[in-house]
């Protein structure tokens, strides 16, 4: 059972890690030369457009493509049935993928509005859409199952007949002595909560340009999604090409927020078409494609919750009963609940957890990844219950949290589910947030403004942001998993050229906007004492690539830091030997300083990295025998701290160990007539361990907060009773503009992880993981005189207004 060593803190001061340098990747974006996937043009390239189902659930009786094929400029029209000859089903990490078969285009029936049924390839996208209009599909509509509670009924229409049920997975986990904690509690608070689905919705959709060379059998696909490269052999299997003839080449992504994490369907369709036609094919999702058919809708949960509490506010145990509406497919299984279980007690010393989960299938787009990957929902649920307990006990929400925080001397702290929180100082974070928020002042202001009849609210929440998932969270759901995958790598190759110039090669689509180039440049600069802007960061295609999981679960910086440290260590080992040989000293008598090796005690006897490199490239006969020409090293860095679950699953092991924490304090005003919210102040204090580029992290915190405001107040994929998607444009799916987002006052705390290089933890998802809980608390607080409680998100103005009316009706007032 591999357990990581703690990583010793470096003795010297860091020069580049911790500096808010301007980003190395910006010039191309600033000048319109970003190189996004739609910028790629290949000679002879064709354009594809997917025909999508207008029905939520229907058999496909007949697809008539005759008129479409005959349109001038059209090169091919491929139906789902034809695609099923050309391709195998999509790779699927869910339970029973043989019983709920997911294909790139629907064959016998469609299972959600927007599901693709055919694809046109033409000389231009315009012509492809013209031809698409001419395809006639004979559908036999079937009753749609839309409500997840109704979907569980045995008489409900089945999304997948072969599965025999719409419940794709259910299990109850018990961690710790739940029975005792609930029996001994002075009070059990209960609530029913609803979190509705929203999604990443980056401004750039998923796209691919595929190119097949029949002479070599090589299928090259340029794509803005390249993650889990070690699983790409499955995509090759889908495309019926040998795994060593598939090359996915990453392009910078115009945002992802999870939705480009293993977003392979567009690449599969483009690849299939390129292989069939022997010409390059470009397929870019348009916005309607992405809203309805992206395979990455977020969590869609119904909770029944119980929290066992003592009179003095001590939290004893928590029970989750959650129904999650996964849509028509379940590609990642219940991995999003793994994220929940990674931090299912929040920052508190809650001793026991019962977690009952039911994954239900309905006629909607399937879930995928959405910034937080399910843990942000659990954060919200936990904080809602803690606030409820505080209200029922008449305790201040700040006080109840203080009483229950895990203390700084208790780390590493193992939570009931088995995961570990590596380090933290939660009270410190909250104190900083309250101070930055001028909390006492706003409580006084609240009093004063309440007397004027205004509804001011202050939210105070403290939530975890786990980072760096292990592979186990995708299979510990089953007592007998199909594959107990334990690899979760990230890789880097560092190459020093004869002039000392350094190139860092990355192997996944690391760039989603998360400053991957800059972070890598800073880490490399730290290792080799060079200017970060001199480091060349390049991205390799998968075919000659090392295994790389990519960003997601806020894992990239931690993992690439480990990989860079590993590769740099190998380079320095080699360089040391060469330097020792050239300087004619024992390599152990050398020390690394000032960008080179020097003799301890005789610092004037030194060689720079460039001098060493030149030696290594040109003068083989002057090197020790075992030294090969060149100065390059790779490191495949695997997850540094994973432990296996127990057989009975009462302990899931360590699977998400680098856990940050944050406290958000919004001060809002609610307009009781409209339910509209305006901001008086917004403070966010985050602790994600050591920061590599503080300004960069701050930008992601503010962006994540804006994203969280969208989740909390504006965004939802709305389906009606017939499964029609009502949010099919950006006039209905509402992303906050600059006027809907306040200025965010950001504070930082750095409690390093003992287990990672430099003590870094992941911080990219944190903002969104906090804001829904924070705004819900602020809404409750603002409307406390009315007894309103926010139990559903998004808390749109109309919902808030309805809660006010219901509260007034309960109180008998108008």
């Amino acid at each position: 059972m591999p357990v990581t060593q703690t990583v010793p803190t470096p003795e010297r001061e860091l020069k580049w890690v911790g500096k808010s340098i301007r980003r190395v990747e910006d010039p191309k974006f600033l000048t319109g030369r970003g190189g996004y996937v739609d910028d790629i043009v290949l000679p002879g390239m064709l354009h594809a457009a997917v025909l999508r189902s207008p029905h939520a659930h229907a058999r496909i009786r007949r697809v008539d493509t005759e008129a479409a094929r005959r349109l001038p400029g059209v090169v091919a029209v491929v139906t789902g049935a034809e695609a099923a000859e050309l391709c195998n089903p999509m790779p699927d990490f869910g339970p029973a993928p043989d019983k709920h078969v997911w294909r790139c285009l629907a064959v016998d029936k469609v299972r959600h509005v927007g599901e693709g049924v055919a694809v046109v390839v033409a000389e231009s996208r315009y012509l492809a859409e013209d031809a698409r209009d001419l395809i006639e599909v004979d559908y036999e509509p079937l009753p749609a199952v839309v409500d997840p509670m109704a979907a569980m009924d045995p008489s409900a229409p089945l999304v997948h007949e072969a599965l025999g049920s719409n419940v794709a997975y259910q299990r109850t986990f018990v961690f710790g002595d739940v029975e005792r904690d609930f029996a001994e509690a002075d009070l059990v608070v209960r609530d029913h909560l609803r979190w509705r689905r929203s999604g990443g919705q980056p401004l750039e959709t998923v796209g691919a340009v595929a190119d097949y060379d029949p002479a070599t059998g090589m299928l090259t696909i340029h794509c803005n999604s390249l993650t889990f490269t070690h699983f790409l052999f499955m995509l090759a299997g889908t495309l019926k090409v040998p795994a060593n003839r598939l090359d996915i080449r990453p392009t910078p992504a115009g945002g992802s927020f999870g939705s480009k994490f293993w977003a392979v369907k567009v690449a599969a369709i483009a690849g299939m078409l390129a292989k069939k036609l022997g010409r390059p094919v470009k397929l870019i999702e348009d916005r309607v494609d992405n809203l309805s058919n992206c395979d990455h809708h977020g969590s869609d949960r119904i909770y029944d919750l119980e929290l066992a509490v003592m009179k003095d506010g001590t939290l004893r145990g928590i029970k989750f009963d959650v129904v999650d509406d996964y849509g028509a497919y379940i590609q990642f299984g219940t991995g999003t609940h793994g994220n929940s279980l990674a931090q299912c007690v929040g920052p508190y010393r809650i001793g026991s957890v019962q977690y009952a989960v039911r994954a239900v299938l309905t006629n909607k787009c399937q879930q995928g990844a959405h910034r937080g990957f399910g843990s942000e929902v659990t954060n919200w649920a936990i904080e809602r219950m803690v606030d409820l307990a505080a209200r029922e006990l008449g305790m201040d929400p700040v006080e109840i949290r203080r009483r229950n925080f895990i203390r700084p001397d208790q780390f590493p702290y193992f939570i009931p589910s088995g995961n570990v929180y590596d380090s933290g100082n939660y009270e410190g974070v909250m104190n900083t947030a309250l101070q930055l928020a001028d909390y006492d002042h706003w409580r006084r202001e609240q009093e004063r403004l309440r007397r004027e009849g205004r509804y001011i609210g202050i939210g105070v929440i403290s939530c975890q942001e786990r980072s760096v998932f292990s592979a186990t969270e995708f299979w510990f759901w089953f007592d007998e998993p199909a594959a107990k995958v334990t690899s979760a790598p990230e890789s880097v190759t560092l190459s020093v050229d004869p002039t000392g110039g350094i190139t860092a090669t990355l192997y996944s689509n690391a760039f989603w906007g998360n400053s991957s180039d800059t972070v890598v440049a800073q880490l490399v600069a730290e290792e080799f004492d060079v200017d970060p802007h001199s480091v060349n960061v390049v991205y390799s295609g998968s075919n000659r690539g090392l295994p790389a999981t990519g960003p997601g679960g806020s894992r990239f910086t931690v993992m690439v830091a480990g990989a860079i440290n590993g590769a740099a260590t190998r380079i320095k080992e080699k360089a040391r030997k060469v330097a020792g040989h050239v300087l004619e000293v024992d390599p152990e008598d050398l020390e690394w300083a000032g960008g080179g090796f020097r003799v301890k005690g005789a610092p004037e006897r030194r060689l720079s990295l460039a001098e060493i490199a030149l030696q290594t490239y040109l003068f083989k006969h002057s090197l020790p025998d075992e030294i090969e020409t060149g100065l390059e090293a790779s490191k495949v860095y695997d997850h540094p701290y994973t432990t296996m679950p127990s057989d009975d699953r009462t302990n899931l092991g360590v699977f998400y160990p680098f856990v940050g924490n944050a406290c958000h304090v919004p001060v809002i005003e609610v307009d009781p007539e409209t339910g509209a919210i305006s901001y008086l102040r917004y403070v966010a204090v985050h602790d994600a361990g050591t920061m590599v580029n503080p300004r960069g992290l701050e930008g992601q915190i503010i962006g994540g907060t804006a994203h969280g405001i969208g989740t909390a107040l504006f965004e939802e994929y709305v389906y009606d009773h017939d499964g029609q998607l009502l949010t099919t444009s950006y006039m209905d799916y509402l992303i906050p503009s600059a006027m809907e987002v306040p200025e965010v006052i950001v504070g930082h705390q750095e409690t390093p992880s003992p287990f990672t290089v430099h003590g870094i933890k992941g911080g990219g998802e944190g903002g969104r993981m906090m804001t829904p809980a924070a705004l819900s608390a602020a809404i409750d607080d603002a409307l406390a005189p009315l007894g309103v409680r926010c139990t559903e998100l998004p808390a749109t103005p109309e919902r808030i207004r309805r809660w006010i009316e219901e509260a007034r009706a309960r109180a008998g007032t108008r």
Binding site: D133, A676, V718
Partner: protein, 291 residues
């Protein structure tokens, strides 16, 4: 999301434009700013066979004041009217409403007349036209005719214009000096269509309202003129109670359509709030208060 094929025409005169529209018949649509039409075409929800560009008729690009009217030609852009000094002086209600129409890049292309012809029930400009008693000029096979705003909007996205007719101008009558105006709306985000919006014009004779107009958007299939509420306020002092009663009268009979941005009941209730707020602000301005 690319538009389907069509034939584009760039006439230079009104006569040319109307002839083209006449020839195109049911397949013909006028293209002004395109800020509403082209998105619909990109979604392929609109598929006109012919687009007749009215903005290439230079003679229609004007904003001018004469004899108590502000006349705006069909090619005049919303942002040009928004910045126009004469409009600011003569039709401040229109200018205030324009600030809420989408965002500036949309207003750089969109036209005032185009917004009227498009007749989106949630749009601001039609409500202003109704409140101010504007008049539209249409030119077509039957020649030229004037259509009062109160007759112009016939349903969601539907107007009294006949096939082959082109709107060439809208004229807004100037209200007397001392009129207080307000256009306020509730939208999900800054720049979005109104969930409910209210236009109010109030003129006082001493303490008493001697002229008032209230119109709403987002509450029905067309903009709505709240005549019942207006008659309640006429001749009365605009006290908070009177204003509240007017807001109630303006909205109690409304049955707005429900959609994901607002149920019928919610829209009605927001409309009532905004009629009250708009009237309150208009009265304050009429009394010489905030500008």
């Amino acid at each position: 999301m690319k538009p389907p094929p069509f034939v584009y025409h760039a006439p230079s005169t009104i006569a040319e434009a109307t002839a083209l529209l006449h020839e195109a018949g049911e397949e013909g649509r006028v293209l002004a700013g395109g800020q509403s039409l082209i998105p619909l075409m990109n979604f392929r929800l609109a598929r006109p066979g012919h687009l007749v560009d009215v903005t290439t008729v230079r003679a229609l690009d004007y904003i001018r004041a004469d004899d108590g009217q502000l006349r705006i030609g069909a090619a005049a852009r919303q942002s040009a009217v928004e910045r126009d000094q004469t409009a600011a002086a003569r039709t401040p209600l229109l200018v205030e409403a324009l600030h809420l129409v989408g965002h500036e890049p949309i207003r750089h292309r969109g036209t005032v007349v185009g917004s009227l012809a498009h007749a989106d029930p949630s749009a601001e400009i039609p409500a202003v036209a109704l409140a101010m008693g504007a008049e539209l000029t249409a030119v077509g096979p039957r020649g030229e005719r004037r259509i009062p705003a109160s007759d112009f909007f016939t349903g969601p996205f539907s107007t009294a214009l006949e096939t082959g007719e082109l709107l060439t101008e809208v004229s807004f009558p100037t209200w007397p000096p001392g009129t207080g105006h307000a256009f306020l709306e509730f939208a999900r985000r800054h720049g979005d269509f109104a969930v409910a919006g209210a236009a109010a014009l109030v003129h006082l004779e001493g303490e008493v309202v001697d002229r008032v107009a209230i119109a709403l958007c987002g509450v029905a299939g067309t903009p709505v003129r709240a005549t019942e509420a207006e008659s309640r306020l006429l001749g009365e002092r605009p006290t908070p109670a009177a204003i509240e009663a007017a807001a109630e009268a303006a909205t109690s009979d409304l049955a707005p359509a429900s959609d994901i941005h607002g149920s019928s009941a919610y829209r009605r209730q927001v409309a009532r709030t905004y009629v009250r707020r708009a009237l309150t602000l208009a009265v304050e301005r009429a009394r010489g208060g905030s500008r």
